[in-house]
Amino acid sequence: MDKSCASAAEAVACIPDGATVMIGGFGGSGGPIELIHALIDKGAKNLTVINNNAGNGDVGLAAMIREDMVGKLICSFPKSKDPRAFTERYLDGKIELELVPQGTLAERIRAGGAGIPAFYTPTSYGTDLAKGKPVGDFDGRSYVQERWLKADFALVKGELGDPMGNMTYRLAARNFNPLMCMAARHTIAQVTKLVPAGGIDPEQVITPGIFVNSIVEIANPQQEEVLNREGAVYP
């Protein structure tokens, strides 16, 4: 079994216009910058993107938004040091926003991956973000019913990977990545080092390969935070 891909460009070539795409990372940590940039190179329109944020500066997700590739964003926190790309389009009504509490976003993605179509959470009960959602009472407390989130594609970033798709993550760059691997029909991973099958201790695998469809080694991945501090612009 060999899920490895020669390049980021090859890995993202299958993503069509109109696709729903989960993108891992939290702020500048754990975002698959090279995969995102390869998708910008390829071009795709009217994407629905699921990410915790809405990009920062002029690289990564912010650059996708600036290139008008994103029709809808599902996220918890569309603010950053430099959120211009999103903010301008949002205030102009050019991009749709579904705002989801962060824990609910994570749980909805996990539910999508785990075959759980709906669940109840205390989060957002009685707030504007629960409007129109069913409520359930359990043991004397009220909860909001939330639905699973799935995607056509996930773009994620890992640390070690093997050709079967097994992965580990570096430090807090884990965040949403393992969940998104589970919830997408086709998960594309970039890893800093691709090792042979057997090169990751089975006890230390965080994402089992069953959740990954293609994997590409990007040996010295860029870091959104570092790029932004350098004032980088992509493309």
Binding site: A114, G115, I116, I200, P208
Partner: protein, 226 residues
């Protein structure tokens, strides 16, 4: 009733036939007991990745006797070994794989399979009930296949119009490999795909509880001696 004891496939042969449909790179869960035999007949040149409910992907054959590590077992509590690229995970992640549609094939045993795909394989209604992962496995896998003798020991059909035994799942089975035939379940019907050439359609229908539809050709079910 015709006695097919002389010609019917052995369990090994049924397992062999089921193994032919497992594609290269497939993620597969094999039920405890008879279905586990399918792994022995994996087609040369194809690599299947086996999943077990208790949290292992890509396990291999049983270790030699005396070499067992009892922390490394499958859902049947039998000792296993690991292949390169194996992974461990907890039970919730394991069943996320099951329910979440990540397995390509689950192969199970059956007491009864109904023509609408209902499966009964967990309870005879007597003694201590035990379900394990069966009710989870029938949901989520892209294909849910059954391996079974075509009839019970008493000669009663196991493929039935409607299950009379407690259900494991509703409308979940997609294909049945029996000792006499290969039958798909489509739109609430048994569709006969292959049968032992020595048996006529009428003879097969006589030992089958629901109507066997024929769509196009019925291929000969040819399985090597094993």
């Amino acid at each position: 009733m015709t006695d097919f004891a002389e010609i019917k496939l052995s369990n090994a042969q049924i397992a062999w036939r089921a193994a032919q449909d497992i594609e290269d790179g497939a993620y597969v869960n094999l039920g405890i007991g008879f279905p586990e035999m399918v792994a022995q007949y994996q087609v040369e040149g194809r690599e299947a990745i086996y999943h077990t409910e208790n949290g292992v992907l890509n396990f291999g054959a049983a270790p030699a006797e005396g070499e067992e590590d009892w922390d490394l077992i499958n859902a049947g509590k039998k000792a296993i070994t690991l292949k390169d690229g194996a992974a461990f995970f907890h039970h919730a992640d394991s069943f996320a794989m099951v329910r979440g549609g990540h397995l390509d094939v689950a192969i199970l045993g059956a007491f009864q399979v109904a023509q609408n795909g209902d499966l009964a394989n967990w309870s005879t209604g007597k003694g201590v009930p035990a379900v394990g992962g069966a009710m989870d496995l029938v949901h989520g896998a892209k294909r849910v296949a059954v391996v079974t003798d075509h009839v019970t020991k008493k000669g009663d059909p196991k493929l039935v119009a409607e299950c009379t035994m407690p259900l494991t799942g509703v409308g979940c089975v997609t294909r049945v490999y029996t000792s006499l035939a290969v039958i798909d379940i489509e739109d609430g019907h048994f569709v006969l795909r292959e049968k032992l050439p020595q048996i006529s359609l009428e003879e097969l229908q006589a030992v089958t509880g629901g109507e066997l539809k024929v769509q196009g050709t019925v291929a000969d079910l040819i399985v090597p001696e094993l």
